[in-house]
């Protein structure tokens, strides 16, 4: 399969639940750049310390961030593995789009070739696919 090891559906539920909230995505983005304490994070949002702490706990359960004690403060750090996974998936999606765009480009180029009386270069043409709307320039 495309993505290798499949995490359990429970893992996935936690991961996507965690990422479904804009504040949590923002917290994740910040701590991916640099560790922060919960109080530093709380100072950036119009919500209580406790509310921010809850968001951090959700991210921690989904293993998107880790927490460690630093004196009396708790430092929050991003977990690059989770972000790497999203990156890998998006890279696969990117490949699919590159293919799609290249094929569309080849399809558009067949107009040009047909107009010049050369055979179409698109090998993907399906046989027996009549169309009332597709434009086929007649060959001379």
């Amino acid at each position: 399969m495309v993505v290798g090891r499949q995490p359990s559906s429970h893992d996935l539920d936690q991961l996507f639940g965690a990422l479904a909230d804009a504040t949590r995505r923002d917290i994740l983005a910040r701590v991916m750049d640099a560790d922060a304490s919960v109080s530093e994070l709380a100072a950036r949002y119009a919500m209580s310390f406790a509310a921010v702490q809850k968001h951090v706990a959700v991210l921690e359960r989904a293993r998107l961030v880790t927490k460690r004690k630093d004196g009396r403060a708790q430092r929050v750090a991003g977990n690059p593995d989770a972000v790497r996974k999203a990156n890998r998936l998006l890279a696969q999606f990117e490949e699919r789009w590159r293919t799609r765009v290249a094929r569309l480009d080849a399809l558009l180029a067949t107009d040009h070739n047909a107009a010049r009386g050369r055979p179409a270069a698109d090998k993907q043409r399906r046989p027996a696919c009549p169309s009332s709307t597709s434009r086929r320039t007649p060959r001379p």
Binding site: A102, D105, L107, Q124
Partner: protein
């Protein structure tokens, strides 16, 4: 290269693809409006897409299936959320269940296409929003690493011949 730029946002789970085509806007639009043309490039080459319905109107619906190398089928639908011909359209892309109805257990994604005249041709920008990593994973699993690899080889062949 027709692809000009690709921007991925790992945290917001969006991907933007910018492509440049030599053809005018109306011609590129027609490639999406005509299902016979659309299916020539939409599915990966080893998983060609067949559109059985293409109701290109706001609120309208398209239905398609992709057929794998072993005859496997995976069915999906588009629901047209907005259309501003020939500049932009937006669809919800989801899975169809065996009963032909939208499969609510499977994820859907939102795709916005815009077409602008640029440099004597057309600049196409598509932005895809994934609801979650899981959705992205399931959508990718719908098609097929093998197909993807074969696609790359085939495209090279097509481009070399043109």
């Amino acid at each position: 290269m027709p692809v000009v730029d690709i921007q991925k946002d790992t945290k917001a789970l969006t991907m933007k693809v910018v492509a440049q085509f030599a053809a005018p806007v109306a011609r590129v639009w027609a490639a999406y409006a005509d299902p016979r043309q659309l299916e020539r490039f939409w599915g990966p080459p080893q998983w060609p897409a067949t559109f059985t319905r293409h109701d290109f109107t706001v609120g309208g619906r398209s239905e398609y299936y992709m057929t794998g190398p072993k005859g496997e089928k995976s069915a999906g639908y588009w629901e047209f959320l907005s259309i501003d011909e020939p500049h932009a359209f937006e669809v919800k892309d989801g899975f169809l269940g065996a009963d032909g109805q939208a499969d609510a257990k499977m994820p859907s994604m939102r795709m916005r296409f815009t077409f602008e005249p640029h440099d004597g041709g057309t600049r196409m920008t598509t932005v895809t929003h994934f609801p979650s990593l899981e959705a992205l994973e399931q959508l990718l699993n719908m098609g097929m690493e093998e197909g993807l690899k074969a696609a790359m080889a085939q495209i090279d062949g097509v481009l070399a011949a043109s």
